[in-house]
């Protein structure tokens, strides 16, 4: 059979080639040798330096464990991350806003706003119409008015460093007034535990901060109740 030896040859060559191929594939004999040397070096190094109880062979499964029940942790993490993301984005948005206004804050920039507000409040309360102001009605209107741009000062506070701060309101939130002071500084003052005053021509309006803790948007709709105790 002519073909047989050739076939045999072929198989032989194939096998040889395969052997060669596999050797080449494995990265060469020299490489294999060096990796073996490396592992022996590492094991001997570890054997020298590690405490005996850490020296465990791969066959020893006692050192290997995996938590099966980690459902609680995962749940918690998920919940946390969700809330965190929300808050972070919120904070980031706020920060951006703050930075933006922090860059170009100067008292004079807000003076036109103050004038606008004065005009607006004069219209609202009708200062010009009668010399004797109907004070309860004016107070009612003041409570519902928008305070952005109004000149405000802190008259009383539980915290002594807030006392005496005055400026133009540039932002009102549920808990805070953000003022810009004549020294071109931005000051955030909590409404709680403080008493504010607004001076308008000959009238002084007093805002009891503790009772003013409402979102500025909701304030227009809110019914204010008269409260007897005015202690901070």
């Amino acid at each position: 059979m002519d073909q047989e030896p050739s076939a045999k040859d072929l198989t032989v060559t194939n096998a040889e080639a395969y052997q060669e191929l596999s050797q080449a594939d494995l990265g060469g004999k020299a490489n294999q040798m060096s990796s073996g040397a490396r592992t022996t070096y590492v094991t001997s190094f570890l054997g020298k330096h590690l405490p005996t109880n850490r020296l465990k062979t791969d066959t020893d499964l006692s050192a290997k464990f995996e938590s099966v029940d980690c459902s609680r942790r995962r749940k918690k993490k998920r919940g946390k991350s969700k809330a965190g993301v929300g808050a972070r984005t919120k904070v980031k948005a706020k920060l951006d806003w703050k930075l933006e206004c922090g860059k170009k804050t100067s008292y004079s920039t807000y003076l036109p706003l103050k004038e606008m507000w004065t005009k607006y409040i004069e219209e609202l309360i009708q200062f010009s119409s009668s010399p004797n102001l109907n004070l309860p009605a004016a107070a009612q209107k003041m409570m519902k008015a928008d305070l952005h741009g109004c000149p405000l000062s802190v008259r009383k506070s539980k915290c002594p460093s807030y006392i005496g701060v005055s400026g133009i309101v540039i932002q009102e939130t549920r808990n805070m007034f953000v003022l810009v002071t004549p020294c071109n500084e931005i000051k955030s003052i909590p409404k709680a535990n403080s008493i504010f005053t607004i001076v308008l021509h000959d009238y002084v309006f007093t805002i009891h901060g503790n009772q003013f803790i409402v979102k500025p948007g909701d304030r227009a709709a809110k019914k204010f109740k008269t409260k007897p105790s005015l202690d901070l």
């Binding site: 009383k156 002594p160 006392i163």
Partner: protein
Amino acid sequence: MASSPPFILEISSFSDEKSRHYAKVMDHYFNNGITLILPEDTSAPQSVTDCFADQLSYKLTQLPVYRLLEAPFVNGFVKKGAVHLISCDTKLDVHDCAAVTPAGCLVLHLTKDTYQELGLEAVPQTLAQKQADIYQVNIDLKADHFHPGKRGYDKAMRCLKDRLGLKFDFLISWVPHDSEVCSSSVGVYFTDLCDKVESYELTKKSRVLTSVACPRIVAEEPEGIEEGCHFQKVFEWMGAVACDISLVSEETDDDNYVSSFSCPVPRVNCPRCCVYQVKGFIPPDVILKVLKALRAHKSAHPSSVPASLTVVGFSDAPVVQKNIPHDFYLSGTNVYSFVLYPDERYWLYTASVA
């Protein structure tokens, strides 16, 4: 009643180098009255009465507090002597009070309403102050950074001047470091700055008791084990003498319906006893002089019954000793009392906030 001030008796000697009598007298800033009990004397010795002669104190009517921050006052008086200044006719538990201590510290003792409007930072409250809603603001007038132009100074000035305009009636006395300077210059300084300046005179009273029952006091035995009387009873007896309570021996009136008080036993009969009382505003330096004179007098005229010097402080003083706040709960009692023995030994009673 739970909260009575601690009562301490110290037994020591003037010759002991660890003796605390100097510190005790000098740290008790605001003194309202002195009582001297001098057994076997008919009048207070000249050396003692002379001590009160040259110290002047003034009453300033409606002085705004910011005047005390002004540079001329701070540089001219606070830094060049010991200023003792206290608001008078103010009650510690219900009113605002103010004081300047010789250490140069302006102490404002404020009620809640004033504090919340004033805008000056308070020191941490003590428990009693927390309960009474009282805040204490301390301003160090002698501090290096406390001068016009600095932020802290300007803020304090603004708060006291423009915001509230706190005004008090003050008692002031000044002891200059330089003995050449007359202490009356402080009165002159304030004449234009407040409504009225008047000299705050001391009232001196002297009386002689005859045949008075005295407790027998033994210096080594304050607890009164054998010979002597218990020190608490001795202190009560001293109080009775100071208040002019009759100490007739109880054998004569057996009816004790009105009062069961009597002189503690064992007792000795003292043929005469001089009680010398001074009321006014007395700086500690004067009391130190009195104490010195009394020691000299005592060693010259030894007697069986020791003499005593009692100093009563203002019950409405915001600070008693150093910067320790004075907590007015039941009473503002702050009293200390020396009992002097002929051999330089003494008992020192302290009845006040420690």
